[in-house]
Structures are given as C-alpha cells and as structure tokens.
C-alpha cells in the first residue's frame, strides 16, 4: 500500500520529467516558455518537499518568475520561428548518449548515501557564534561569505554584459486597466513580503536573494503597468543601488582585515548586525540589478 506522501512525490517527479521534456520539444516557443514557468513552479514545490525551503523560494521567484519574464521579453523581439527540423539519426544518438550518461550518473550517485557529512554538524556547532540562528544564512553570510560576495559580482557582470549588447527598444503595449489596478495592490504587497523575508532570514528560511527577487518582481509589475518611469543606468542613484551590496560587503571585509582580526572576520558581538546590514544592502542591489536586467532602459543605450 502506497502512502499518500509517496504517491504525491512520485506524481511530482513524473510531472517534472514530462514538463521538462515537453518544454524542450514543443513546437512553438511560446508554449515552451509557459511550460518552463510551470516546470519552475513544480521544481519549487520539489525543493520544499526535499526540505529546502530557501531553495524553493529562490526557485519560485527567480527560476519561474523573473526568468519567465525575461524569456517572454526575448520572444517579443524575435521574428517568426522556422519549424524545427530534427534528423532522426541525431535524435537517436542523443537518446543513446542520454541513457549512457544516466547509467554512469546512477552508478556514481547511489553510493552517496553512505558518504560522511561532517559539515551540517559543524554548522550547527558554530551556529551560536555566527550571529544568526538560521543555518543557511549562517553559511551564506558568515561561513562562506566570500562565495556570496563573488555571487553579487556575478550579478553585476550580468547587468554590465547586457548593457554591452545595447539592446534595441521595443514598443510596450498599452497597459491593461485591470493590470494597472492590480499592480497598485500587488506592488506594495511585494515590498512588505520582501521586507518580511529579509527580516526572517536571520532565523528562518528567507534572505537577501529571495527578498531582492520579490522586490524586483514588484518593480517589474509597476513598470509594465506604466506606473514607473524608465530605469536608467545613467542616473547615479540607480548605479549606487546596484553597486551598494558589493561596496558594503567589500568595505566590511577590508575593514575587518585592516582594523579587526582578519578578512571577512566579523567581531562576534556585532556579527548579527553586520550580517543584517549586508543583507539589506544586498537585497536592494539584487532588486535593482534584476529590475535593470528585465525592464531597464533600452533606447538610450550606446549614446
């Protein structure tokens, strides 16, 4: 007799596979994007089932939400697509290769259950001295803060890379009245929820990336409804917002190396506050960068 939970998990896995396959092989790109967004939502649920609510939040906000908007915006710029033509020999060889990789992966993944996992124990042992009580936040912003700092630089580089492309503008459709009305309600909500997620991050799932993505979603909504002016890299407050996260983070790291005990060493009595400061700055930077990526200035580039 299958338990209800197992049934749910099996359904989820099968649905995930079906959605992934159809999103790749469907005839029209638009359908593919819609399926991809659905795939992202299901993946978020999967993460939640696996006991990783932080990942679930990030996947729902970035994987399903903002990536979907980006893909649709890209679709709006490209002309009609030629019908895909796939020689059967290629499909066959891809299938054989896929099966081979699958076998290799399964043989490599199966023994992982017995592997030693010293890190979760170490993280909980040092949680008291990290300044926060949520292990994921402790890893991201204290134990492995250097990774997070570099990730913020990755996001900055994404913004800069898109800027180099000097994307051409496209005509934005006139906003639907209902959308305008809804966005007036949803945008303030996104600000409140983002603030809540940010605050929660210190003791429960949540944190800068999720909060930033939600905030960006609110900004995108307002912009699409025509209620916000164009976001420009040329305005200095915008640039300050984008750069703020890295500057604060690097500043704290360098100050620690210069005045304190070392690079990215937080003084124990301040570490909670310092982490909160970094998270607030990072949230604003992430929100600004993501909204610039999705709905940033178009026409004015390259002048």
């Amino acid at each position: 007799m299958l338990s209800l939970e197992l049934l749910f998990d099996i359904t989820l896995s099968v649905l995930l596979l079906i959605l992934a396959g159809t999103a790749l092989h469907v005839r029209h790109l638009y359908t593919g994007i819609v399926l991809f967004v659905a795939f992202g939502l299901l993946l978020a649920i999967t993460w939640a089932r696996l006991g990783a609510p932080d990942l679930a939040l990030a996947e729902a906000a970035i994987g399903a939400g903002l990536t979907g908007v980006l893909l649709l915006a890209a679709l709006a710029r490209i002309g009609p697509e030629p019908p895909p033509r796939r020689p059967p020999a290629r499909a066959l060889s891809a299938g054989v290769l896929g099966v081979l990789v699958l076998i290799l992966l399964i043989r490599a993944v199966l023994p992982l259950e017995q592997g030693p996992q010293p890190l979760p124990g170490l993280v909980s042992a040092h949680l008291d001295t990290s300044g926060v009580s949520h292990p994921v936040t402790a890893v991201l912003l204290n134990f492995r803060a250097w990774d997070t700092l570099l990730e913020l630089v990755v996001l900055l580089l994404a913004v800069l890379g898109v800027r180099q492309l000097q994307p051409a503008g496209y005509k934005q459709a006139h906003a639907w009245t209902l959308l305008r009305a809804w966005s007036r309600i949803l945008a303030p909500l996104s600000v409140i929820i983002a603030g809540y997620l940010l605050w929660r991050g210190s003791h429960a799932p949540g944190g800068a990336f999720q909060a930033g993505a939600l905030l960006a979603a609110g900004i995108v909504l307002l912009r699409l409804a025509g209620l916000l002016p164009v976001l420009r890299w040329d305005d200095w407050p915008m640039r300050a917002l984008v750069l703020m996260g890295i500057v604060v983070f690097l500043g704290i790291a360098a100050a620690g190396a210069w005045l304190g005990s070392g690079w990215l060493n937080y003084p124990p009595q301040w570490s909670g506050n310092l982490i909160l400061l970094i998270e607030v700055a990072a949230t604003l930077s992430i929100a600004a960068s993501l909204s610039l990526l999705v709905i940033g200035e178009r026409e004015e580039l390259g002048t």
Partner: protein, 474 residues
C-alpha cells in the same frame, strides 16, 4: 597574505569606482594595475622569504570555511596577471586602434583582474566554480564590446561556458556528496578511486577543458578571440584560458588518486600532441590574421596539456615547472602578438594575412614585435619559450623510451615555426607593399613590442623561475 589580498582588492575597488562615476578614463586602470603589480611583487618577495601562507576566510577553518593559499605559484600568477593588465592597459589607453575608447572595457578589465586574482588564491572547489562563472561572464561581456559582428561567437562562447560550468558543478556536487568537504587538500587526504570519484573527475575535466579551450574542446576559441577588440583578445588569450587550466592542474596533480591519474595522463599528453599539430595546421591555413594568432593559442595550450599529461603519467613533479613556464611565456608572447596583429590589421585596413605584404617596410616595429613574440612561441633561445621547452625536454631526452614524445614536441615546434614564418616571409616581400590606410602609430607599435621584450627578458631570470616553480608541488 595582506599584500595578496590588496592585489585582489585594488582592481575590484577601481572597477566599482569607475562604474559609479561612469568614468572611462584609462589612467585610473593603469594606476590600479601598477599598484596591484607592486603589491603582488611584494607578496612574491614575502613568499620567497617566508614560504607558503594560508588564510582561513572569516576565521573559519576548513572544512567549514574557504581557504586561501598564497604559494610561490599563486604569487607569481598574481604578479603575471597584474603585469599583463598593465601592459595591455597602457596600449589600450594610447592606441587609437584598441577599439576600447568610450566603452565599458575599463571597469570590465578591472573586474577580470579581480576575478583572476580570486581564482589564483582560492583552494576551494565551490569557490572556484564562482570564479569560473565570473571569468566566463566577464570574457563574454568584453568580447561583445566590438559590436554586432561579435554577437554570434560571443553567444556560442557564453552557452558553451555555461554548459562547462554546469559540468564542473555536477562534479563538485558528486565529490561533496561522497566526501563531505570542498577544500582541495582535505579532499586529497580522503579521496580513493571509486565510481563517484572517476565520474566527478571526468565531469570536472570536461568542463575545465571546454573553458580552457584544450583540444578537442577548443572549437569556440578562434572565432571568439578573433572577433574581440584587440586589447580584449590579448587578455583572453594570455589570461582567461589559464584560469581553468590552473584548476585542472590543481585537481589532477594535488587531488586525483594515482591509479586514476596515470591512465588519464596518457590521454592528456596525446591530446596535447594532437593540439600542437592540429592547431598549428589550422593556423597555417587560415586566411585571417587574428584567427591565425587565435589558433596559435590552441596549439600552444597543447604544450601545457602535454606537460600536464606527462606529469601525471610519470608522477614527476618537475614537469609542473615546464607547464607554468609555458603559461607565463605564452601569455606574454601572445599579448604582444595580438596587439601587433590588431595594430597592423587596423592600420593596413584588412583582416587578411595577405594584407601584411611588405609590412616590414610600412610597419617595421609592429612586425618586429610579431616576429619576436613568434620567436618565443617557437622556442628560440634565449626567450621564455625556450626556457619552458628546455625544462620540458630534459626528462624526455634523458631516456630513449621517451623519445617519441620528444618527436611530438619537435613536430609541434616545426608547426609553430611554419605559421610564424608564413607571416614573417610575407612581410619581407617588399616588392609591392600594401599601403597603410593611416599613418602608422609608432608609439603604439612600441607598446605592442614591450611584452615581447619582457618574454625574452624572462630568460635572464630563468634560474629563480625554474627553482620556484619546481618547489610548487612540494
């Protein structure tokens, strides 16, 4: 360690400042590179005096935190990165053909400098993944500076680079799942040759080889490097492909179990020989100048691959010295070659090799730079390339069993000589020289010559270089 961190922090802070001020003044970058070079040089002196230093970031020891290690090689690579950035920045600021005026080249090159410095210092598999992401993104962003014609190669590079990152990340995840740690030295003490390890190493190697454009995964490189702005091509060939190579070398020489490394070494060495021949042949055949120089990068990376392979095959750590000498010599020579090629191509008004007809008359200094850099690539004494080849050949010639490998090196040398002389011979054909479109800029040509002179100067410091690099593995 403070000095090394400063060498990393200076370019990063400069990039942020330039972005905030929206400044496109090259002088800032030159000053920052110079400062970073001085600090890196001091760090190198400190390491030579006091030995390897490590830093637990945030005060968290491994396996909880990330570890930085500053050994002789890392310090040398920090210095090399700053030096190359300085040389290229001076050229890019001065030359009107660098295609970098009024672009975001300046902050991006600073970010590239910072990313590389972070990569050289880190000893953590996941942190390396983040630095690889940084390198890939910054390289693509810098290629598309040159406009719509570069979009195709840049997009291909971006997609392949992302696929390679994912391959590498999957390998890291498998190792983490099996051993529960991410620090390379901790892993080296725990690792054994089982299925998971083999697959993880295979995945990481594929990803890194794709990113480093090692044969047979090099096909994206010529188009991407040839379509980038001249100054960017120089940085990409000299530095960006060396980042993944560093991680590959670390993984195999420090971490991989011997019984996996020895058979893999044979494959690496064979791929290296094929890279030498195939890259050389493609460089000999291509009609375009910058593509020729880009294919020469593919061929020259073959030497590094060969040294890595033989190092693993015979477990001879001295060969690390050959590998890193090749990287340093190739980096400097390639900067000179790309800058000279870009300067000549812009002045003579054509991207074709054939337009160089009579270039010794019209642009003698740039052609001289090209030939001098080519001399180091061939391995003519007393250049840096010669020193590297000497260190590589010594163990090969010592034992008659190894002579086939020496034959491979000889064939590779002939191939590099062929493509360098293809250009030089054409340039000496002065009967009917191709007239330049602009007045040749002599000062910019001298700046292109500078790195080539440095690589010949490397021979003067060959003894300490060989000594330091041989000690790297101990």
């Amino acid at each position: 360690m403070t000095l090394a961190l400063a060498s990393l922090l200076i370019p990063l802070a400069t990039a942020l400042l330039l972005l905030f001020l929206r400044s496109r003044a090259g002088a800032w970058v030159i000053i920052a590179s110079l400062l970073s070079l001085i600090v890196a040089g001091l760090a190198l002196a400190e390491v030579v005096a006091h030995g390897t230093q490590t830093l637990a970031i945030g005060g968290w020891d491994t396996p909880l935190g990330i570890r930085f290690e500053l050994n002789l090689l890392s310090a040398l690579l920090l210095t090399f990165t700053a030096l190359v950035h300085l040389l290229v920045a001076v050229y890019a600021e001065r030359s009107r053909h660098s295609q970098t005026r009024d672009t975001d080249y300046w902050p991006l090159s600073c970010l590239l400098h910072g990313s590389l410095a972070a990569l050289w210092l880190s000893r953590d598999l996941f942190n390396w993944y983040v630095t690889l992401e940084l390198l890939g993104l910054v390289a693509v962003a810098m290629i598309i500076i040159s406009g719509p014609k570069a979009y195709g190669p840049a997009l291909r590079y971006l997609l392949l680079s992302l696929a390679a990152s994912l391959c590498y990340l999957l390998g890291v995840a498998l190792l983490y799942g099996r051993y529960g740690v991410l620090d390379i030295d901790l892993l080296a003490t725990m690792i054994d040759a089982n299925h998971t390890t083999r697959l993880a190493l295979l995945l990481m190697t594929l990803g890194l080889m794709l990113k480093a454009a090692l044969w047979p995964l090099h096909l994206w490189l010529p188009a991407a490097h040839a379509s980038a702005p001249t100054a960017v091509s120089a940085l990409l060939s000299a530095l960006v492909v060396k980042g993944p190579l560093f991680i590959l070398w670390m993984l195999w020489s420090r971490m991989a179990p011997v019984e996996v490394a020895q058979p893999a070494g044979l494959l690496f060495a064979l791929a290296g020989i094929v890279a030498l021949l195939a890259g050389g042949w493609a460089a000999l055949r291509t009609p375009f100048l910058k593509t020729l120089v880009a294919y020469s990068t593919v061929a020259q990376l073959g030497y590094a691959l060969l040294a890595l392979g033989l190092l693993l095959r015979w477990q001879q750590t001295e060969l690390s010295a050959a590998l890193w000498l090749f990287v340093l010599a190739h980096g400097l020579a390639k900067v000179s070659m790309f800058l000279a090629a870009g300067e000549m191509q812009a002045t003579l008004g054509s991207k074709r090799v054939s337009s160089l007809k009579g270039a010794t008359q019209t642009m003698p200094i740039a052609m001289f730079a090209f030939a001098v850099a080519g001399g180091s690539l061939i391995g003519l004494p007393p250049s840096g390339g010669f020193v590297a080849k000497w260190v590589l050949l010594q163990p090969l010639l010592a034992d008659p069993v190894h002579w086939p490998w020496a034959l491979g090196v000889l064939l590779g040398t002939l191939a590099s000589a062929a493509y360098v002389f293809r250009v030089v011979a054409l340039a000496f054909d002065r009967a009917d020289p191709n007239p330049p479109n602009y007045n040749p800029d002599a000062f910019a040509q001298w700046l292109a010559l500078l790195p080539a002179l440095v690589v010949w100067g490397m021979a003067l410091y060959s003894e300490p270089l060989i000594l330091w690099l041989t000690e790297v593995n101990r």
